[in-house]
């Protein structure tokens, strides 16, 4: 990707949608795509519903259709009872906002996990608006209800999403995920739905069936640990992606423990999609017996296409690294190939030299999970704006909007926008190569290792 195009993409991402610069919302804002997304995000807090949903997803090389009775009680209780196909009929997921139970009636087994819904209510729209082009396509009718139709198209490569949002309640009545190379990979729609019910809490209380075997599945420790803190916790080095597709940024790290297997879990998000990196000592985990051998940098890895998700496994620096996401195959391969422990220190020194900073600062920011382009952008911006590193990192990561930074600095948003654009252009010229975007063709096969 040419440096100019890269800078333009990065600037677009950092500057975000024009809504970032808009004045405070008037009492009755005109409807636009951003407002519809806000409605959809607010809906779970405001309304109860129960309905029947039909989901069709790409799964293991074929398409599977699942029917589920879905109930939601505000703000964060959920009950899912799967109705078909036969092999999932009766399966239950009950989340009371604290504990999530998964129950398999065929085997009378119950799995207990802590709920992770809290983050749902604290979602961050800034990152989504920065990295996605939100377009209101019009209105449509879904099961006799009027719905706004919006498109969420990533500014970089990745899955685009189309949502049918109920005009009256903000509930997503229908959704469609489209992969650039494979077409539609997931559709979900309500075939029946009832709103404004005050659903009884008892519906969201899991009642353990007699004789059920219970398996605690609390495999995740921590949630927002930095890679540096994780390395101390697990006692092995943690690899941090060197570069990622534009817009993806570190959203938290955790330790995953299951039996004797201890892994580090790094989450990178662009606000709408997620790439997960799991790292474990190579000796503690074997290669899966399936998947396609692929070339990752100078070594071989294994690529597994699960349909909706793609998985890439490779070894680096004595660690087995597994990346999971919906990102295009080429993107995953490029990101994996860029992680090069041998180049890490050289890149630290190089970036420090180019942005006229010290290697210790660059190393510190790496320990917080930033990629090299993000570090270059952070340091150049901090220098030009006179902001402290913490604030600048928040801005680069999208947890602080441009409008908020402008307020803190007492600048006009338009002036700040211009400064950011220049800083990003400069930072992009001195950053390492970014993986190519687009595509998604399956990797070229390699002989079995």
């Amino acid at each position: 990707m040419p440096a100019r195009a890269l800078a333009a993409a990065a600037a677009a991402v950092l500057l975000g949608a024009t809504a970032d610069l808009a004045a405070p919302a008037p009492p009755a804002p005109p409807i636009d795509a951003t407002r519809v997304v806000e409605m959809a995000l607010e809906a779970p807090r405001l309304i109860d519903y129960e309905g029947t949903k039909v989901i069709t997803a790409l799964r293991g090389g074929r398409t599977e259709t699942v029917t589920v009775a879905e109930s939601h009680k505000r703000p964060n209780m959920m009950r899912l009872e799967y109705l078909s196909p036969e092999d999932v009929a009766g399966r239950l997921v009950v989340d009371n906002g604290t504990i999530a139970w998964h129950y398999e009636p065929r085997l009378n087994m119950a799995f207990e996990d802590q709920t992770v819904q809290q983050r749902l209510l604290g979602h961050d729209l800034t990152l989504l608006r920065r990295n996605y082009l939100l377009t209101l396509l019009g209105t449509d009718e879904v099961i006799g209800r009027q719905a706004y139709v919006i498109a969420l198209v990533p500014r970089g490569a990745g899955v685009r999403r189309q949502l049918w949002v109920d005009r009256a309640t903000g509930t997503v009545l229908r959704s469609e995920d489209r992969d650039p190379s494979r077409g539609v990979i997931l559709t979900a729609y309500f075939s029946r739905v009832s709103f404004s019910l005050n659903l009884p809490e008892a519906l969201f209380r899991f009642r353990m069936p007699a004789g059920a075997r219970v398996f605690p599945m609390r495999t995740i420790e921590g949630d927002s640990m930095s890679p540096a803190a994780l390395a101390k916790r697990v006692g092995f080095p943690v690899l941090i992606p060197t570069v990622l597709p534009e817009g993806y940024t570190f959203r938290g790290g955790a330790v995953s423990r299951f039996g004797s297997l201890t892994s580090v879990y790094l989450r990178y998000s662009d606000g709408g999609n997620l790439i997960s990196f799991f790292e474990a000592p190579a000796g503690s985990i074997g290669w899966p017996a399936f998947g396609q051998p692929v070339r990752v940098g100078a070594s071989t890895g294994r690529f597994i296409d699960l349909g909706y998700f793609r998985v890439l496994i490779w070894e680096q620096h004595g660690l087995r690294v597994t990346a999971v996401g919906t990102a295009p195959t080429e993107t995953l391969l490029a990101v994996a190939g860029q992680i090069d422990t041998a180049r890490e220190q050289a890149l630290v020194r190089d970036v420090a030299h180019r942005v006229e900073s010290d290697p210790a600062t660059v190393r510190q920011l790496r320990g917080e999970g930033l990629t090299f382009p993000e570090i270059a952008r952070t340091l150049v911006l901090a220098h030009q704006l006179g902001t402290d590193l913490g604030t600048t990192v928040q801005f680069v990561r999208g947890t602080l909007a441009l409008r908020e930074v402008a307020q803190r600095l007492g600048m006009r948003p338009e002036a700040l926008r211009q400064t950011v654009r220049e800083a990003v252009r400069r930072a992009s010229a001195i950053s390492p190569v970014v993986p190519p975007s687009g595509g998604g063709r399956p990797p070229a096969p390699l002989p079995h290792p």
């Binding site: 997304v37 959809a40 995000l41 949903k53 989901i55 997803a57 799964r59 293991g60 090389g61 074929r62 599977e64 699942v66 589920v68 959920m78 899912l80 799967y82 092999d87 999932v88 399966r91 998964h102 085997l107 799995f111 992770v116 983050r119 749902l120 729209l125 999403r161 997931l186 979900a188 599945m217 495999t219 995953s256 299951f258 039996g259 004797s260 297997l261 892994s263 879990y265 606000g271 999609n273 997620l274 997960s276 799991f278 474990a280 503690s284 985990i285 074997g286 290669w287 899966p288 017996a289 399936f290 597994i304 699960l306 349909g307 909706y308 998700f309 998985v311 597994t322 999971v324 996401g325």
Partner: protein, 179 residues
Amino acid sequence: MRLNHHRAGHLLSAYLDGELSPQDAAGVQEHLLDCAACREAYERLRTTKALLGELPPAEPPAEFWAALRAPQAPPRRRTAGRAPAAPDVSIWRGLTIVRRPAWALAAILLVVALAATPLIKGTVDRLHATEIGVDLYVREHAIQMGTGPLADRAYLGLVATDADLVLVGETPRAGAAGP
């Protein structure tokens, strides 16, 4: 009988020890012919068990043999000027077991087995980790993705439960992460 990858993986150790029914053993054998990962796992388990088998017999301490021979030993010399020492009842109580060689052998085997347990368990855990890696990670990813705005949690819940089942050794549904 044709076994799937996960079931065969769980039966490897028993297969190696000859503890399976002829039907299950044939199933494992057939799976091993097709599955490189299980062959590799089988070899690692076999090597571990072979290493354990090659361990030299544990040499009991000298006191053990002394105590074992004690009943046949000549009476202790009397200490001049003192009454003959009474048999040390506490020692005899403690060594009751060594008067029964079968019990002694069983005790030694138990000690060896206990000492080897972590080694075997570690190997079995690693074999299990070989199987569960992808499912565990897809599960974590699906659960985290479900916290994202606008994700379809009904679908992600299905993926997570599929993975839960594989993690506890159950057969995955068709199309789940696996061969």
